[in-house]
């Protein structure tokens, strides 16, 4: 799919903590293997129990819109042609306490509501340096949800 903010928009600089998030093709949230606590953004250790044994854990990728910012004034020159666009904050059903930022790719900003159900989708991009395939988590309004 074409990227929500344009195919020339920023790409992630991959590192050990975010590689799974941007390449797995399924939603991965960092969790603690000792106590099960899920957390975001990733950290070097578990913020709940202190264990150093943290890593990506698969999520079913379902959630709820917690808030919406509809951006009209572009603060980056590349986004002048993209406004207005919406950034949403999504709480993840199977990662309590974790909320992720993203864009809803199948709805206009005016169609979005706090409380709406969403499911994960992925924007594809190719890293021009490594040739690696990136799959960037985004969101779809889930009209099938009850």
């Amino acid at each position: 799919m074409t990227r929500y903010l344009g195919d020339d928009w920023l790409l992630p600089a991959l590192d050990a903590q975010n590689r799974a998030y941007f390449t797995a093709g399924e939603l991965k949230v960092q969790a603690c293997r000792a106590c099960g606590h899920a957390q975001h953004p990733p950290e070097d250790l578990c913020r709940a129990c202190g264990s150093h044994d943290v890593g990506p854990r698969r999520s079913a990728g379902r959630g709820r819109i917690e808030s919406i910012a509809v951006v009209h004034h572009a603060v980056h020159p590349q986004l002048k042609l993209r406004v207005p666009y919406a950034v949403v904050l999504v709480s993840v059903d199977d990662a309590p306490g974790v909320s992720l930022l993203g864009n809803v790719v199948n709805g206009a900003p005016s169609e979005l509501r706090i409380g709406a159900r969403v499911r994960v989708a992925f924007e594809e991009a190719i890293d021009p340096d490594s040739g690696e395939r990136l799959l960037i988590p985004q969101w779809l309004l889930d009209h099938t949800a009850t």
């Binding site: 600089a13 919406i68 706090i114």
Partner: protein, 386 residues
Amino acid sequence: MKGRAIVAGVGESPYYERGGSPDTEFQLACLAIRRAAADAGIDVADIDGFVSYMDARNDPLRLAAALGLRELRWSAQPWGGGGNNMAAAVQLADAAVSAGYARNVVAFRALAQGQFGRFGQSRAVGRVGGEFVFSHLYGLLSPAQECALHTARFLHDHHIAADVLCEIALTCYANAQRNPRAIRYGTPLTREQYYAARWIVEPFRLYDCCPENDGAAAIVVTTRERARDLRAKPVAIVAAAQGLGPAYGVSGFQGRWFPGVFYRGVADTLWQHAGCRPSEVDVLQLYENFTGPALMALCEMGFCAPEDVADRVRADRMSGPDAELPINTSGGNLGEAYIHGFELVNEAVRQVRGESTCQVANVDLSLAVAGPGYAPGSAVLFGRAD
């Protein structure tokens, strides 16, 4: 009254529109510091400490040399964010003086956004890493956008009409009309102009967002014992507090922190330390990076319950010296100048001295609340030293 340290002097440079200063940022800093020392009646060479925040450009060693200090005994900056630390800087000056590590400590902020560029702009190209990857990649790039997410949810949760944001902007502009230092002096804002202005990021329109300016503001903090030797009426630092919380952005959107502007902890610490309640405060300076987070800070600090916002947060109940709760009496970030909030510290001190251009009668307690939405939050309560 608690507080061993006092504010002996306040000073500022002229305030300018962004890019309007004929002086460099460092010159503005030195000017504000000299004026604060002169206001106190303290020889600038006797200053022996500097505190600022997010101000690496005007470092204490360079200032000490430029101002001819005899000795530099203390320098510090609080970590994290930006204008959220304006009151934390006063707290660090208070700590140094109260502990006896230094005798005449200047807390200040200088900001020349014409010389050094603007906040809230991004020219990132190619790649983004670290924590920003989880926000910038989705087009969430600026403080206005981050604060919009908090504000939208706060308004939703408490069934507050977004119209209330206008009331804060109107209050600041109305008070700025009394203050010749204010950049918006002579430029009133009407409700019609507010609503006719363009969206920046919903729910913020243009006048919900603070401008960008050039200028500097400073205070001199010294010991209570020196008060009788000074030129100006001494003002006590009754209490100050910093509040912990996750740093900003993505961290602040998680679980129990959302929506919030990091002032619940500040309130607990400040009111306990001061031994008083919000209702005892006579006048309030409230940092408005954007109107929405200022509204949230007002609630988190205990001045207003969210369910009472529609009734209490009205320009006709907050503007002018006779208001029920006078706020931002010099015009604040929106109306006076955006000196990263330090102009609010100067105004809070002036209210205790009886020297505001919008002077509230019989001020015993004057509070300045720093920038909301970024941790640590901070606040400082000033009072009469006699």
